[in-house]
């Protein structure tokens, strides 16, 4: 294949790229057009070896592509993503135009069709002002800044505040764990599974509190939380949702546990849970009641969970 002149190469690249962008079939550009308007516009190209090299590379790339590949590029271009902009800009004139600006700026050579501008101090001052404006604006990205303000408390926090008065409680020590039992709790129904069991009466509504210890991972945290969710009529959650809906708390002795609050407003049921993952076993503290009773009894249950000692 005969080597084309640089200006012709740029013309071919330009036109093939236009076809890529509009998705039409690849055609060989007619040679008689190479000396037309386009080559006139890019007549600075032969003076720029770096640009020659780039244009040659683009043409080689284009010639190495099949029609299917070109069509794929066309599809990318229509999707409007960055690669398309790259293809469009490089090949449809954006890049040559940038080079032209650069070339003109560096050489300060006259540009065809320029305004009839007279050099005067006011214009120079304005250009200086514009440059200062450009620099100032360029530095206007989001800066690190610190603000302080006050905001109203969310309604839920206010409700919790009202019920957070802790009544006189008693310390309990079983063979396995120790904890503080809130005064309002009474002994609950016993079971071979439960380490301890309590009941609470919240405005006539009953709450069942149980503490269960299971060996090993006991099915895992997520499976157990989803089991509880099923008991109150809620659907399963993913690990992400569990992470965002659970609170990582520390007991008074500094041991970590996970607190979950599962409330089904529609069904009116709720479970509050404290889950203690320890080496070789898991401990589950569960508060099952109506949603209304759970909201009022939450403060006591959190106090209880925070008091657990191993």
């Amino acid at each position: 294949m005969a080597r084309t002149s640089p200006s012709k190469v740029s013309y071919q690249s330009l036109n093939s790229a236009k076809r890529i962008l509009i998705g039409s079939q690849l055609e060989t550009p007619s040679p008689d057009k190479s000396g037309g308007e386009d080559s006139k516009i890019y007549n600075f190209i032969p003076r720029n070896p770096a640009f020659n090299l780039l244009c040659g590379s683009f043409t080689s790339v284009r010639e190495g592509l099949t029609s299917e590949q070109l069509n794929s590029l066309s599809t990318i271009a229509r999707k409007g993503i960055a690669p398309a902009l790259e293809v469009g800009a490089i090949t449809s004139g954006g890049f040559p135009f940038s080079m032209k600006i650069l070339s003109t700026l560096l050489k300060c050579s006259p540009f065809s069709g320029v305004a009839n501008l007279k050099s005067r101090p006011a214009v120079e001052s304005l250009s200086l002002g514009a440059a200062v404006l450009a620099v100032a604006l360029a530095g206007c990205s989001e800066k690190p800044e610190v603000t302080t303000y006050v905001e109203g408390k969310p309604a839920k926090a206010e409700e919790m505040q009202q019920t957070s008065e802790i009544q006189a409680s008693t310390e309990v020590q079983t063979s396995e764990i120790g904890f503080v039992k809130p005064a309002s709790w009474t002994d609950g129904r016993s079971s071979s599974m439960r380490l301890a069991s309590f009941a609470a009466d919240i405005d006539g509504e009953k709450a069942d509190i149980s503490i269960i210890k299971l060996a090993g991972p006991a099915g895992g945290l997520l499976a157990n939380v989803n089991r509880w969710r099923g008991q109150v009529g809620l659907g399963n959650v993913s690990v992400s949702e569990l992470a965002s809906g659970s609170e990582n708390r520390k007991t008074g002795s500094g041991e970590e546990y996970i607190f979950v609050e599962l409330v089904n407003d529609a069904g009116g049921q709720a479970i509050l849970g404290g889950i203690y993952e320890r080496k070789g076993f898991m401990l589950f503290a569960k508060y099952a009641s109506s949603a209304k009773a759970a909201a009022k009894g939450k403060a006591d249950f959190v106090t209880f969970c925070d008091s657990v000692k191993f």
């Binding site: 320029v114 501008l117 514009a130 800044e145 603000t147 303000y149």
Partner: protein, 384 residues
């Protein structure tokens, strides 16, 4: 210098930059589908440089700045304007004012929203796009005191220092949209709280920036027993708590909050439905605007926003399923909101003058056409 000024003020430069602006506009608009509206705006329109892989291309902001400078210098060169060019001169001034308004809007406007329950009031709104890292002191029973660190701090490697901190917080990692996954294997010994059990995986950005789950790993050093690496992520219903000094702070990553210089109280939310359906036909919020204790009763409806100072409040959404109805107002703070109106009037005025000034020439041209050819050439010569 003269040559450079000639080039910068040339109509050719304006012509090419305007075409380039159109190219950006097309690609930026198309990209909104894949990148999301905010992201596409940031990449194509609000950027100085568009990086097409390794190739830097002029971004929308740079292109408009070039057009602005081009117009300024062109106008400066045209002072004093010729009598017949006064109309175009005025129109160009209008165009310049429009661009200036665009810059003011780009740098000094904020867009967000606020929920107000019926009977409640609010003096704050949250940004749709920008986020903040908030340390919330909940110890005051009346209100929360917030110290917020802007988006400039929310990047990998950033160090956060403040008078309230005994040590330094380092952003170990930052993910713009993350999925929380269960951690495989044991976490490093200094990872505490959810960070010890959960990890974060970067996923594609959402169409709307506020739907992204921004996630950070923050390393606290010099905080005594609270030292460690914490996982902080948006939409966490139970925020991470950290004790700093004597106070306990909830640490949240959330949409940036702004204070309004007044409060809005929702008196009543009204909705009309299409007959026989649950589809809203119109909805409106009856509100009180509270400024320094003075109440002003206003109705904000779908096509009638409330304008106060640089703020405009649009009726955007509502919640009528909860026990208490609530309204959602879109808030736009824009110091340059009057520029498009003023500049359009100026441009129309300029074009009108230009048209009027051209009328005698048009009449003369018609007369010339009717004259015999030699006489017409003669008159043309005289006119020129």
């Amino acid at each position: 210098m003269k040559a450079l000024l000639k080039f910068i003020s040339s109509p050719a430069l304006f012509f090419y930059t305007a075409i380039w602006l159109l190219v950006i506009l097309v690609f930026g608009t198309l990209a909104q589908k894949q990148m999301g509206i905010y992201e596409a705006q940031e990449v194509y329109f609000s950027s100085w440089v568009i990086w097409a892989s390794v190739l830097p291309l002029p971004g929308g902001r740079l292109t408009m700045l070039v057009i602005f400078i081009n117009l300024v210098l062109k106008l400066a060169g045209d002072i004093p304007p010729k009598k017949l060019r006064i109309g175009t001169f005025i129109s160009h001034c209008g165009g310049l004012l429009l661009l200036l308004g665009g810059f003011i809007t780009a740098y000094f406007s904020t867009e967000g929203g606020m929920w107000i329950p019926e009977g409640g009031k609010s003096g704050q709104f949250t940004d749709f796009n920008k986020i903040e890292l908030a340390f919330i002191d909940e110890s005051n029973p009346e209100h929360n005191e917030v110290t917020a660190f802007s988006g400039g701090y929310i990047k990998k490697g950033a160090e956060i220092q403040h008078d309230m901190f005994p040590g330094t917080i380092t952003v170990v990692d930052y993910v713009r949209n993350g999925e929380i996954i269960k951690r495989e294997g044991a976490a490093p010994s200094d990872y505490v709280g959810p960070a010890s059990r959960f990890d974060v995986k970067s996923i594609d950005l959402e169409e709307h920036a506020q739907a992204n789950r921004n996630t950070m790993l923050l390393k606290f050093e010099g905080f005594g027993p609270e030292d460690g690496v914490y996982l902080i992520f948006k939409f966490s219903s139970i925020p991470q708590k950290v004790k700093i000094g004597e106070k306990e702070y909830a640490v949240e990553i959330r949409q940036k909050h702004y204070d309004l210089p007044f409060e809005i109280e929702l008196l009543d939310f009204k909705m009309e439905e299409h007959p026989g359906t649950r589809v809203a036909r119109s909805y409106a919020s009856e509100v009180n605007v509270l400024t320094d204790g003075v109440k002003r009763r206003v109705e904000i409806s779908m096509n009638e926003p409330l304008r106060k100072g640089n703020y405009t409040f649009y009726q955007s959404s509502f919640d009528n399923r909860s026990p208490v109805e609530a309204t959602f107002l879109q808030v736009v703070e824009n110091a340059g909101r009057n520029f498009p109106y003023i500049s359009s009037i100026i441009m129309c005025f300029g074009l009108l003058i230009h048209m009027v000034l051209q009328i005698p020439r048009m009449i003369n041209r018609d007369r010339l056409k009717k004259l015999p050819l030699p006489e017409m050439e003669e008159r043309k010569e005289v006119a020129s």
